[in-house]
């Protein structure tokens, strides 16, 4: 090697150029395979006379959807049906995530409890829920639990609420003229509450004096809103649910499909989150607790100010995966008639229009973006919570 007189300086021997060549080769292979698959797909679709495109989005769908949070009638378009399904998927995912987090934290803490019974019960919960298939749990809630409720005619009644196998019925508030005052009052009360919290924090940093800001701001919101209600003379009327020939008419209803999916998703994911929370808390060195105690902090403050913030660093990354799982698992709702994306778009729309590639592609796109959005948010939160070294 050493006595080589004439170094070979040709471009081909340059590491950078070589890397570039290989990259280009790889890229062209990828492009070629992609192009082949795409044209082949086009050819096959043409050969079989299958029409393609998203033109069907503007055509009337003509099928009903059980749960729609935006206006939707049987004569709405496929595009509208898609929007309805999209909202249903978002709603169940976000509510599920919120509820699963609460359940997870409570059960996770319960497993660490010094109370023998509480800790054992939490263990039983976790081991049962996370070891049974989610679809089975959905069927259980839908067909075994909720279907065992009484028929509409024999509903359980609590005040103006009705509970039966068709759902949970509650009075539907109808806002009268003058309700604007209440809305303004509510917004003002929130502004005041935020100002109070900011002030209390500033004062504490400056003087060390503590003020019960959270409780008093809650009281502020309730008091101001109630005052506004009194001033405007309670401008709300309620449409009460009533028994009719087949069903309950009037009121608002939470259908059993929605309730079953929400319970199944949140209790199942909650069991996983409980373990993550437990692991996070156990990962914080016991010395931290001892140090906090020797500074004279109460147990609740020790948890809130010392242990949890450190535990969060361990908790957030696996928690993100659980949130993603929950959002994707919401598609199982299709099996028990919850009209989410898979049910409405990949089910009914696909079948009525026959546009398999378009509808499935669209669903993949939506789940992809939903997951990426959750991921991005959690990564931001993770960064915010991470150890800031001084």
């Amino acid at each position: 090697m050493s006595n080589k007189t004439k170094p070979n300086n040709s471009l081909l021997n340059d590491a950078g150029t070589r890397a570039l060549i290989f990259q280009l080769l790889l890229l062209s292979v990828v492009v070629f395979v992609g192009y082949f698959l795409f044209t082949n797909l086009q050819n096959n679709l043409d050969n079989r006379g299958i029409s393609t495109g998203f033109a069907f989005f503007n055509e009337p769908a003509g099928f009903p959807i059980l749960i729609h949070l935006i206006e939707y009638t049987d004569s709405g378009t496929y595009g509208r049906a898609f929007a309805v399904a999209l909202i249903n998927t978002f709603v169940i995912s976000l509510l599920g995530i919120a509820l699963a987090t609460v359940i997870g934290v409570v059960i996770g803490l319960a497993r660490l409890s010094n109370n023998w019974l509480v800790a054992r019960l939490a263990t039983v919960y976790v081991e049962t829920l996370r070891n049974l298939p989610l679809l089975l749990q959905m069927f259980f809630w839908y067909f075994a639990v909720l279907a065992a409720l009484p028929a509409p005619a024999n509903s359980y009644e609590f005040a103006d609420f009705l509970l039966n196998k068709r759902g949970i019925y509650s009075p539907n508030p109808i806002f009268q003229d003058g309700f604007g005052v209440v809305v303004v009052g509510f917004i003002l009360s929130i502004v005041a509450a935020v100002a109070l919290i900011v002030w209390a924090k500033k004062r504490q940093t400056k003087t060390g004096l503590w003020f019960p800001a959270y409780w008093s701001s809650l009281g502020l919101i309730v008091a101001i809103t109630f005052l506004a209600l009194v001033i405007s003379g309670f401008p709300i009327e309620f449409d009460l649910p009533e028994k009719s020939r087949f069903n309950i008419s009037g009121g608002m209803v939470l259908p059993p499909e929605f309730v079953a999916v929400l319970i199944a998703l949140s209790t199942y994911t909650g069991a996983f989150i409980a373990e993550i929370v437990r692991a996070g808390i156990l990962s914080v060195n016991w010395g931290q607790t001892e140090a906090a105690r020797s500074l004279g902090l109460r147990d609740s403050l020790t948890q809130r100010l010392i242990v949890l913030p450190q535990a969060l660093r361990v908790i957030i990354p696996p928690l993100t995966s659980q949130y993603l799982n929950l959002a994707k698992n919401s598609s199982l709702g299709a099996a028990i008639a919850y009209p989410e994306l898979v049910s409405v778009v990949m089910g009914t729309t696909l079948n009525q229009t026959g546009q398999a590639i378009e509808t499935i592609g669209l669903c993949m796109l939506v789940y992809g973006s939903l997951s990426l959005t959750i991921s991005m948010f959690m990564n931001w939160y993770n960064k915010k919570m991470s150890l800031i070294e001084r």
Binding site: N40, N44, A147, A335, I336, A337, G347, T348, L350
Partner: protein
């Protein structure tokens, strides 16, 4: 989600099939592999239903068996793929199955935009409603405010919406992915009404714990001509499936049954029957089939009347009257072009 995985795979299969020669010559493919792959339902008694031994039976099953008898002279050379309503078209488009015989309604959109061809109608049906007897409902017009259960991905969903809209009735739709789960939602009391084709209602009612506690309302709210479907563009294959059905109808009209076909073939002097049974000329050649193709269908599967009686007739749990499905000579609309 098995069904969705299946759909993705089928879609991937469409994408991956090499385009040359994919559309043509199903007959050659079928002959080469030695059996017909037939797409059926996941269990509709009388139409396609597997017994405890895994033996399939039903009107739709017999459509596939008749085609197998015509090609191989053996009605058992069929393999069945149970499909949900929403999987069925993709399975046929992608070539996973050769015939789709899954009580599928012939509609304009399906015939023209899915790359499929409907062959012929093997059962004339119409959509109806089933309710509990104790509700005291006598007509579908009384269903204002009712909760209605149905299976997803069928014409039923659209007809139901049209019916309630047309009659200005309100209703709560509960659309379940599979027929069996829609039925259990109905039987658990989630819904007041279960809706599907009337034959399906009769079949599903026979599955309920107390069939006599449920009534099928008199209204028929739609036309549902059900029949086998094949891929668009393979005319020979379409002809075979179509004429396998026509032969059965013609046989019933001529009084030829699986019991007497042997005798008639040797004794008849009627040239039309001779042509049909292959005793004279070679009617099979144009279809690429043996001369005995029609004889094999009748001997192995039976004529249309036998198929009907065996699967959904009054002696079966499904218990349907012939109605529209009687021969045209007997007040129905079953009519087949002549074999000549």
């Amino acid at each position: 989600m098995k069904s969705n995985v299946g759909k993705l795979l089928s879609t991937a299969a469409i994408a991956a099939t090499i385009s040359t020669g994919a559309a043509a010559a199903t007959l050659d493919d079928v002959k080469a592999k030695g059996f017909i792959q037939c797409g059926v339902s996941q269990g509709v008694p009388g139409f396609s239903n597997a017994d405890s031994n895994g033996e399939w039976s039903g009107i739709d099953v017999d459509a596939c068996r008749a085609t197998a008898a015509a090609i191989f002279g053996d009605a058992q050379k069929v393999k069945f793929t149970p499909l949900s309503a929403k999987e069925r078209f993709t399975a046929l488009q992608s070539g996973e199955i050769d015939i789709l015989a899954r009580n599928t309604t012939w509609t304009y959109t399906r015939d023209t935009s899915l790359g499929l061809d409907f062959t012929t109608t093997n059962f004339y049906d119409g959509q109806g409603f089933m309710v509990r007897k104790d509700l005291g409902v006598e007509s579908a017009k009384d269903l204002d405010g009712a909760t209605v259960c149905t299976e997803q991905g069928t014409t039923t969903e659209l007809n139901m919406a049209d019916f309630f809209r047309k009659n200005k009735l309100s209703y709560v739709p509960v659309v379940v992915q599979k027929a069996d789960e829609a039925l259990s939602a109905y039987s658990s009391g989630r819904c007041d009404v279960f809706t599907t084709d009337k034959s399906g209602l009769a079949a599903h009612r026979s599955k309920l714990s107390d069939p006599s506690a449920h009534v099928i309302l008199p209204e028929t709210i739609s036309k549902e001509p059900l029949g086998p479907v094949v891929r668009h563009g393979d005319n020979q294959w379409k002809d075979i499936v179509t004429w396998a059905m026509f032969v059965q109808v013609n046989a019933e009209e001529m009084g030829i049954t699986s019991k007497n076909v042997e005798k008639i073939k040797t004794e008849t002097i009627d040239p039309e029957i001779k042509r049909l049974l292959g005793a004279e000329g070679d009617m099979g050649a144009q279809l690429g089939l043996p001369a005995s193709w029609a004889y094999d269908i009748i001997a192995k599967v039976g004529n249309y009347g036998e198929v009907f009686e065996r699967n959904v007739g009054p002696s079966t749990p499904v218990n349907l009257p012939r109605g529209l499905n009687a021969l045209w000579t007997e007040g129905g609309i079953m009519y087949a072009p002549p074999v000549r």
